[in-house]
Structures are given as C-alpha cells and as structure tokens.
C-alpha cells in the first residue's frame, strides 16, 4: 500500500509522515526527568508533513486487506544505503571542527538529510529509523551497542562511521518491514 493512497482510501490504515528529531548534548550532563528541560542540554524539534487525521475509534477497528505476500517484494538495499551514509557524512563533516553548537545543529540536520535520501529510494512498506551520534575525538572511550528484535528475513540495518581530525560521527539506519 503506497503512501499516496491514504487520502483516497477511507478504509486504509492511516499512516502519517512525521519526523521528529531530538538531540542530546552532554557538556553538562545532568540527571533529570525525561520531560524536564534544563538550560542547554536538550532540544527537541518535531514537525508533521501532513495534517493530522486522528480518529482513535476507527483506528481500533480498521482491518487491512490481505496482501497474500509472505515477505517484502523489494528488500532494503543495504549497500546503497551504506553509500548514502558515507556520502552524507563526508560531505557535511569533512572540513568541520568539533564545536558544541555546530555539532548540535549538525546532528539534527544530518538525520533529516539521511532520512530524506532513504525515503527517496521508495521502498514500499518499510519504516525507517535514522540515528546519528557525533562526538569529539580524543582519548576518552565510548561504546555504542544495539540489539534488535525483528524478523531478519525482511528487516535490516546499515551503519557507517566517519572520522576526521577532531570528531567522529556514527550513523545507523534501521529498516523495519510492515507486516
């Protein structure tokens, strides 16, 4: 079911394109409630691409038609996305030095750019999650790990690490098939 059909088909499962970018920077890391705001550590940007069509009652009872497909007709192209990540990170960060404000903006921009490019690949029935970490490169140690509980035949992820003289950047894209 393609995204463009939602408006026309009233029975269709309404899926909204909604981007939400939130970032966290830790120069002064403070423990606080997840909803709290402190002076300069957390910022959230979120927007909607389409007007919201909230209708909880109908959402509960909506039934999707059978597609009789056992798996995705077109799989997530891991290699292509690897190249996308490499290009985006290199283009945006090749010449940059680590600076807190710049990198805060940069993480948000880069996630949005990567998401837009992956969406352009138009792979039907896939949902994407893009995560970008940028940090200052020095003698401190960092470990980033992730585990996924999904169907490995249809779902996949792609990852790329970029380094320059003063910073490192890690970008991950997780693609999940809508069953």
């Amino acid at each position: 079911m393609m995204m463009s059909d939602i408006a026309k088909n009233p029975v269709a499962h309404s899926r909204k394109k909604r981007g939400s970018v939130s970032s966290l920077s830790s120069h002064e890391f403070q423990r606080r409630e997840i909803h709290g705001r402190t002076k300069d550590s957390m910022s959230t940007v979120s927007y909607m691409d389409e007007p919201s069509q909230r209708d909880d009652v109908s959402r509960l009872t909506v039934q999707m038609e059978n597609t009789y497909q056992l798996g995705p007709p077109k799989h997530f192209p891991v290699v292509t996305v690897n190249h996308i990540l490499k290009d985006v990170l290199t283009n945006y960060l090749q010449e940059e030095e680590y600076e807190p404000e710049l990198c805060r903006q940069m993480t948000k921009t880069i996630t949005e750019v990567i998401k837009a490019q992956v969406k352009d690949l138009v792979i039907p029935r896939y949902k994407f999650i893009v995560i970008v970490h940028i940090g200052q490169l020095n003698t401190q140690s960092i470990l980033i790990a992730s585990r996924c509980l999904w169907d490995p035949k249809s779902d996949a992820f792609s990852s790329y690490v970029f380094r320059n003289a003063s910073l490192f950047a890690l970008a991950n894209v997780y693609a999940v098939y809508l069953e």
């Binding site: 499962h13 899926r15 981007g19 890391f29 990198c103 993480t107 893009v130 995560i131 470990l143 790990a145």
Partner: protein, 116 residues
C-alpha cells in the same frame, strides 16, 4: 477467518512503562560500578539484552530496537540525534539517560507495531 484477539486492549506504545523497565536494567548492571574498559562490552551487552527480554515479556505485538551508548565522563562533548519515518499512532520511542560519577549512559528504545 478467525480473528486474533489481543490479550491487552491498550493501543499505542507505552513509553512510561518502557522507561521504567530500561531504567531498572541499567541500574542493575551499572549501578555502583566505575568505568572499566574491560567490562564495558559485557555491560552494554547485558543492558541491551535484559531490556529486550523485559520488553518482550510485556507481550505486545511490537518489534523492538534498543541502542545503548556508554561514554566515559570527560570534558569532551557528545551529541546524538534520531529521526524516524513510521506510523506515529502505533509506533513509539523512549530514551533513558543515566549517569554516575565516571560515566554517562544513553539508552534508546524504538518500538514498531506489527499489524496482525
């Protein structure tokens, strides 16, 4: 055609519940420990695996992605951002930030609904 009845009526991702689960896992694994390069692999693996196991025990029809970043406490900056393209009515995310004297830990949980 038989209908599948969900054994829980709640719709949408319950971020609060996930937050508590993950926070307990992190407290259990890292609580009282100091940053140690030898153990860090093991710790992140346990945090992520335990969180995933507990989330699955909730019995909801979701696929989960759990990421964990552990950074040694230092004067150096670290930024992380995420952007998601999904169904906002059914899918959700939750982030848990935890710290102690020697390290910071950020755990993200993403839950994507399976439509049965």
């Amino acid at each position: 055609m038989e209908e599948y009845h969900r054994h829980c009526e709640e719709v949408g991702f319950n971020a609060e519940e996930a937050h508590n689960i993950v926070k307990d896992c992190v407290d259990g694994v890292l609580g009282g420990e100091d940053y140690n390069h030898n153990n860090i692999n093991q710790w992140t693996a346990s945090i992520v695996e335990q969180s995933l196991t507990h989330l699955v025990k909730l019995g909801k029809a979701y696929k989960y992605i759990v990421t964990c970043a552990v950074v040694q406490k230092s004067a150096y900056g670290f930024h992380t951002a995420s952007s998601c393209f999904w169904d906002t009515t059914a899918d959700g995310t939750c982030t848990v930030r935890w710290e102690n004297r020697t390290m910071n830990c950020v755990v993200n949980v993403f839950a994507i609904a399976i439509v049965l």
